[in-house]
């Protein structure tokens, strides 16, 4: 069944608006849907009165965690028709396969586990700062008190995984903010489905009344020029690609802060110890398969270019190629709820890979190359020229004589680096950080993200808050 012609609602602070205002999509085999014309509802969507945020401050943090925990228990699609519909639509739009998506939607309750959220809030903001004015003793006759307040924010969320919408809802609640989520066309329903679940659960709750969800076509001046003003919002939290961030940046002005969750790519460094014996090599290959193949390589955390200290002489290349074969096999053996064949091949990438296959073995060896993915083994100390395109479970193994080579390749666009063995990670970590890397993990753990909220060093939790200081002059 094709899910064409469905309806995406506009949710404004507890109110659901369903009108067939504008048609979207419908070209090139994509989905088509209708949504209300957001421009016609801007007066209501924009929260021009900051004072209406005060109801959030009647809530204690524990009440917020409880609310989110309860929301989580209602999200699994088996008992939630809104989420079931969102899941079904995402099967047509996502780069993730149905098995992976099913597992993600089924496990959404875990993302709202109160204990995990409490830990994340504590680690990344500090619950005291969310709850109270925290006293800061200063030298001299002044006492300062700091508190983290929420903000009125537009969130431009990414569509590569439905968890991004849920994470946004959770962060918005915990920071006591007012969120307008602009949904992506490749996941048009998840955020709205969560909002509707909140309305069903607690229609008048302040947390329900401080979440709006809207779809408009990115770049629609009628909406953006009016909404993105300092009278209406204080922050724009933008996930997304280079073009999207650059586009949004033009609305940044005094009074509006841009929290850019930049496009990032991740990589891997494997030390020479991997080749100690066949058993070790197989273990390394298995771990690398998880980093490269998990989530179908749709995440910013996924390994793409893999630097291997195999050596670049003939024996070194043989070692590298052996690892390549093991990794390819290990990716193919990943269970379907973790990884599967490409749902949508990037034609540009497929062309590049097929050109390497046709072009001969001089510089690159290729295993695979269809929807199942591929491992490209560079036969020289360089990644493929199209490395930024790597996706669809296509990894590029690059042999090096010295781990200094990958250190030099790290930039501020590098996010996670999976490293093996641990001793190499500790040896390189300062240098990698100085070059721009943001998260260094044990190989095999790139995709599994602990909930500490620090993942990409951008500190979105802290930056979603407005940090307010109260100073009290004390008598000398």
């Amino acid at each position: 069944m094709r899910d064409h012609g469905f309806r995406v609602p506009l949710v404004i602070r507890g109110e659901v608006i369903e009108e067939d205002g504008v048609s979207h999509g419908g070209r090139g085999g994509g989905i088509s849907f209708t949504a209300p014309d957001v421009a016609a509802h801007l007066g209501k969507l924009a929260l021009s009165t900051p004072s209406s945020m005060s109801d959030l401050y009647s809530l204690r943090m524990e009440e917020i965690f409880d609310y989110l925990g309860e929301l989580g228990s209602r999200l699994p699609p088996s008992r939630n028709p809104w989420m079931e519909e969102a899941f079904r639509i995402s099967c047509h739009t996502s780069g993730l396969g149905a098995d992976i998506l099913r597992a993600m939607y089924d496990n959404m309750d875990r993302m709202l586990d109160p204990a995990a959220l409490r830990e994340a809030a504590e680690n990344s903001i500090g619950i005291d700062y969310l709850e109270n004015w925290v006293e800061m003793p200063l030298e001299g006759p002044v006492t300062a008190r700091i508190r983290a307040f929420g903000a009125r924010a537009v969130h431009i969320v990414a569509g590569n995984a439905p968890g991004t919408s849920l994470l946004t809802v959770a962060r918005n609640a915990i920071t006591r903010s007012d969120a307008i989520i602009k949904t992506p066309s490749n996941d048009p329903l998840t955020a709205a489905a969560i909002a509707r679940t909140m309305i069903d659960m607690a229609p008048d709750h302040p947390l329900t009344r401080h979440l709006s969800v809207a779809y408009w076509k990115g770049g629609d001046e009628r909406v953006e020029a009016k909404l993105y003003t300092s009278g209406n919002i204080e922050k724009i939290i933008a996930w997304g690609g280079m073009a999207s961030i650059k586009h949004i940046a033009k609305y940044v002005q005094p009074g509006i802060e841009l929290v850019a969750l930049d496009p990032k790519l991740s990589s891997t460094i494997i030390g020479r110890e991997a080749f100690a014996d066949e058993e070790t090599l197989a273990r390394v290959a298995g771990a690398l398969a998880l980093d490269g193949g998990g989530l179908n390589q749709e995440g910013c955390v996924n390994a793409r270019v893999v630097w291997v200290e195999s050596g670049t002489d003939k024996a070194g290349l043989e070692r590298l190629n052996r690892l390549g074969q093991l990794v390819y096999d290990a990716i193919q053996a990943l269970p379907p709820q973790i990884s599967g064949p490409a749902v949508r091949m990037d034609p540009a990438l497929a062309d590049e890979v097929s050109a390497l296959r046709v072009g001969g073995d001089d510089w690159y060896k290729v295993i695979g190359g269809g929807v199942e993915g591929a491992v490209i083994m560079s036969q020289m100390e360089e990644p493929v020229d199209f490395a930024p395109l790597l996706a669809n479970r296509v990894l590029n193994l690059v042999p090096v004589d010295d781990v200094e080579t990958p250190v030099q390749a790290v930039t501020s666009y590098t996010q996670t680096i999976g490293i093996w063995p641990e001793s190499l990670k500790r040896r390189l970590r300062d240098q990698l950080a100085i070059h721009g890397a943001q998260r260094l993990v044990t190989l095999g753990n790139a995709v599994g993200m602990p909930n500490h909220g620090i993942q990409d060093a951008i500190e979105p939790w802290r930056r979603m808050c407005r940090w307010i200081v109260e100073e009290e002059a004390t008598a000398a």
Partner: protein
């Protein structure tokens, strides 16, 4: 001495073995060949080309092995053997950054039957030098892209193809049903671009100079006497791409290129004045004269605008030859441009054609506005997603693919980036198909970037590249 480029007597019995011979029969004879006969010749010819070339071209051999093709039973079987454009840029770009032009030559030898072992790359420190070296030492004239990503595609044209370049141009200058133009060795050529360009346009200019004008440079009137530099195009693209990835400043820029860059930037600053002088000259010195020019609608529009500003019109002799390929190149032109531009030029019509630089000749447009295949062009209409060929009957819309059977030194099979509507059958003009509707667009238009091998967009891309590089100082 007979004028070069004109048709000669050919033996139709030789077409099976030598499909390139069809080039030399009159255009109307080529177009009048019955589709069935053309299909028969093409099946024989594509088998022969495949057999010959796969021995010499590893890339073709690998593709055939990958596709599991050992023989070609039907014409559509050959659709699996079309190269993707990426094949012509499958070299590591670091070869250029590290001046390893010896290895780049070695890579190119996978794609041409011409022996490149005589190419001297010692001392070559730029792409421009390398293009000259391969041309000079092996007679292979490379056609390169504008390289929006900084990585240029390199398509080798061998001496066999070069020998037909002038004839190819002549075919394009002739309207269907009209006699072949003659006396062209006395007709100057206007080039709205650079004097030296390693693209399809530039290859034609070289052929005119050497084969038609016997080396008389004065017959080529180019807007820019300088070179369209592949290095400038490549460098700007590489730096822009590096900037987008946050790697700006780390790209290795060779000193040899940096040294030349200042000259290019200085030359570009003179651009507007040079352009004005150029138009003054052609509107004055060539007014009323018979001239030749190749271009696209937006180039002719630019010329007409320049004329409008000077208050001139109906410039050239009515038997001048203007051919127009590549549509409007994305530009939006004022209403009625199809009438106002010929009027400005002083002619009754421009000869419109469709094709691409990967082909050795273009497809002429008939009285019904359809582009017709010439008999050495084995066309395919491909599913844009799967690449599967449509049946060879009826009308279909999809991706244009072609095996140019006249090409001897390279595999002539290529998948285009164009969405076309192709009909196998008889056209209302009376000619047998296959033919294309005139409404053609690029798949990449909706996706943004494009790195088509292009004749006409290249000078613009070159200017943009220089502007970008100049700003970086």
């Amino acid at each position: 001495m007979a004028e070069a480029g004109i048709s000669r007597v050919v033996n139709a019995a030789s077409f099976d073995e030598h499909p390139e011979e069809m080039f030399w029969q009159p255009l109307d004879a080529s177009l009048a060949m019955p589709a069935e006969e053309v299909s028969r010749i093409q099946l024989h010819a594509v088998r022969k080309r495949f057999e010959e070339l796969r021995e010499h071209l590893p890339a073709l051999r690998n593709l055939a092995a990958e596709q599991g093709i050992t023989q070609i039973a039907t014409l559509n079987d050959a659709a699996a053997l079309l190269f993707k454009h990426s094949v012509y840029k499958s070299y590591p770009v670091s070869l250029i950054e590290k001046n390893r032009y010896d290895r780049l030559t070695q890579w190119l030898s996978n794609l041409t039957t011409v022996d490149l072992s005589s190419v001297q790359t010692s001392g070559v420190e730029s792409i421009d030098d390398w293009l000259d070296a391969v041309n000079r030492d092996a007679g292979v004239r490379i056609i390169h892209t504008t390289g929006t990503s900084g990585k240029l595609s390199f398509l080798p044209r061998g001496p066999a193809e070069a020998s037909r370049q002038l004839r190819s141009g002549r075919l394009s200058q002739q309207a269907i049903g009209q006699p072949e133009p003659t006396g062209l060795d006395q007709v100057p050529t206007i080039v709205l671009g650079n004097r030296i360009m390693y693209n399809g346009y530039g290859a034609m200019v070289e052929a005119l100079l050497h084969d038609l004008y016997q080396g008389d440079d004065a017959m080529i009137v180019a807007m820019n006497p300088g070179r369209l530099s592949a290095d400038v195009l490549s460098l700007a693209g590489r730096l822009a791409a590096a900037g987008n990835r946050g790697e700006l400043g780390r790209s290795q820029v060779s000193p040899a290129i940096l040294n030349r860059l200042d000259d290019f930037v200085a030359a570009q600053k003179e651009g507007p004045a040079r352009r004005a002088r150029f138009f003054d000259e052609i509107f004055d010195r060539l007014a009323g004269k018979r001239v030749m020019m190749s271009g696209n609608w937006s180039m002719y529009h630019e010329m007409a605008e320049a004329g409008g500003q000077r208050g001139v019109g109906g410039i050239f002799a009515p038997d001048s030859l203007f051919l127009c390929a590549g549509g409007t190149k994305g530009a939006t032109l004022p209403d009625g441009y199809r009438e106002t531009i010929p009027a400005f030029l002083g002619i009754s019509m421009l000869n419109e054609l469709y094709g691409m630089s990967e082909m050795t000749a273009l497809m002429p447009k008939c009285s019904e506005g359809k582009y017709h295949a010439l008999p050495w062009m084995l066309l395919f209409l491909l599913d844009p997603e799967t690449g599967q060929p449509a049946p060879r009957s009826g009308t279909h819309t999809g991706r244009f693919g072609v095996i140019d059977l006249s090409i001897e030194t390279r595999w002539g099979g290529i998948v285009s980036g164009d969405e076309v509507t192709m009909t196998f059958g008889r056209c209302a003009c009376g000619l047998d198909g296959p033919f294309l509707d005139s409404d053609i667009r690029r798949y990449s238009e909706k996706e943004g970037g494009d790195d088509k091998i292009t004749c006409a967009g290249a000078p613009q891309a070159h200017d943009n590249a220089l502007a970008f590089l100049a700003e970086m100082d």
